[in-house]
Amino acid sequence: MSEHSAAAGAVGEVEQALTESFRTDWGRVVAALIGMTRDWDLAEECAQDTFATALSSWRRDGVPDRPLGWLLTTARNRAIDRIRRDRVGDAKLRELAAVTAPQPEVDLDALVSGVADDRLRLLFTCCHPALAFEAQVTLALRTLCGLTTTEIARAFLVGEQTMAKRLVRTKQKITAAGIPYRVPPAHRLPERTTAVLGVLYLLFNEGYAASAGPDLIRRELCEQAVRLAALVAEQMPDHPEAAGLHALLLLLDARSAARVDATGALVPLEEQDRSRWNAAMIDAGVTELRRALEHERPGPYQLQGLIAACHATTARAQDTDWTRIVALYDQLHALVPSTTIRLNRAVAIAMASGPQTGLDLLDHLTATGEITDHPLLPAVRADLLRRLDRPSEAAAAYRLAIQRTDNRTERAYLARRLTECMKHEEPDNSDP
């Protein structure tokens, strides 16, 4: 190896460390800065500056022993400098001086341990019910997860300008309307926690099956969602749905390595190599789920967790206990009568009682209007028709399904199925 490539290796190491830090610590740094300054824009700008500085500084001096401590100290100094320079008000500066002055050497342990709360405060503030749901999710993705406006805009299929405006408006509302930066008091906690869990669930889903873009799974979104769900579950031991969501996300995320093959193509659940599922995550998920169920207050996340656990703890796809899964979907549907759950329940029934039963149910639900226009409906129909060996009808449904997804990986999977069906089509039924 030449000297040149050795140096390049070191640079790569710094970049890798920084990427890792960004992923785990961006939210912590922003949360700490908002806690300190109450200025959301300033906090974001200082966090950005800090990570930019880190690149050159770490390249020069090496990666610090405690990157988070380094980032927090740098970010905090940057914020103090900025406030001093901008002269945003002497009162604010005195307040900060009072906080920082007694510690000539910053106590990193105290700083780092206090941050967990800061992130939770940030999460609850982002998910305040006085903000519209889209605004909540958007702000959480930007401030806690460090996604750029462009990335968020792409994830939600809106223009970048629209997304940028939404973020500005949301931050303005928080400041002007006096939305407090804190975890709500105990009597407000249950209702507010529901909102927080909803945002985390959506965040995970966006990462697990990105609605647009080249990759099926956007790892960082899933990781962030799991991490934040762990934080919420840990802080709210009396809220079984918090533990339920954490368990659910662990159990789903455990499958991620097997969901795409070496070429990046989607592998459906029944064809996945289950030895590639993450056993440690499954164990953690099952343990967490058990802890949640001890409260005997089952909710939608715990029930979905049970369904996911059914799959996760079955070694071979053909041994899946679909009858139990149907029963769980029945309970889930009683709590949340949504189209998505009706559709998933129909799939489970098809697996338990045969594709014809599933298709009949689907037709019935479509006729009664209980399932209307759902983006997954054509794909589910196509799959049932394929299993029933009706390739022409299946092919037509796959064509429809392909039109309905913006995810390239999903589209490639559907196209593969379509090709298979077309091979089996009777000549007189094939397209001209």
Binding site: A130, A177, G178, P184
Partner: protein, 111 residues
């Protein structure tokens, strides 16, 4: 922080709904706020047909009989409260009896 609570409802419904029980609930709400010292001002208004709306266009004063927006739902009162944050303002607003049949809009007051 100061918040203006704009209390509104369907006027006819409000007239029919405010009974003895409602008045008692209102008195409880008011005395709780007074005790906590958060209430800066609080007034009920005469119904919207008594309103006069003023506009000046091209230097001319134009008057309209009635509120600036026609409609069933009209502002029937306001309160100016001084409290810690939006959560406390929401709690105060949610205690107002009019929220049972109407609504309260919370507007932060510019500093």
């Amino acid at each position: 922080m100061q918040f203006l609570l704009l209390i509104s409802a369907d006027e006819e419904l409000a007239e029919r709904t405010i009974d003895a029980e409602g008045s008692a609930a209102f008195t409880t709400w008011l005395s709780d706020l007074e005790r906590r010292g958060v209430l800066r001002a609080h007034r009920g208004l005469h119904p919207s047909p008594t309103a006069t709306t003023v506009r000046v266009r091209d230097g001319e004063v134009l008057l309209t009989d009635g509120p600036f927006i026609e409609g069933k739902e009209q502002i029937g009162g306001f309160a100016l409260v001084d409290c810690a944050d939006l959560d406390e303002a929401i709690e105060i607003a949610a205690g107002h009896p009019a929220t049972r049949f109407g609504q309260v809009e919370i507007r932060p007051v510019r500093q």
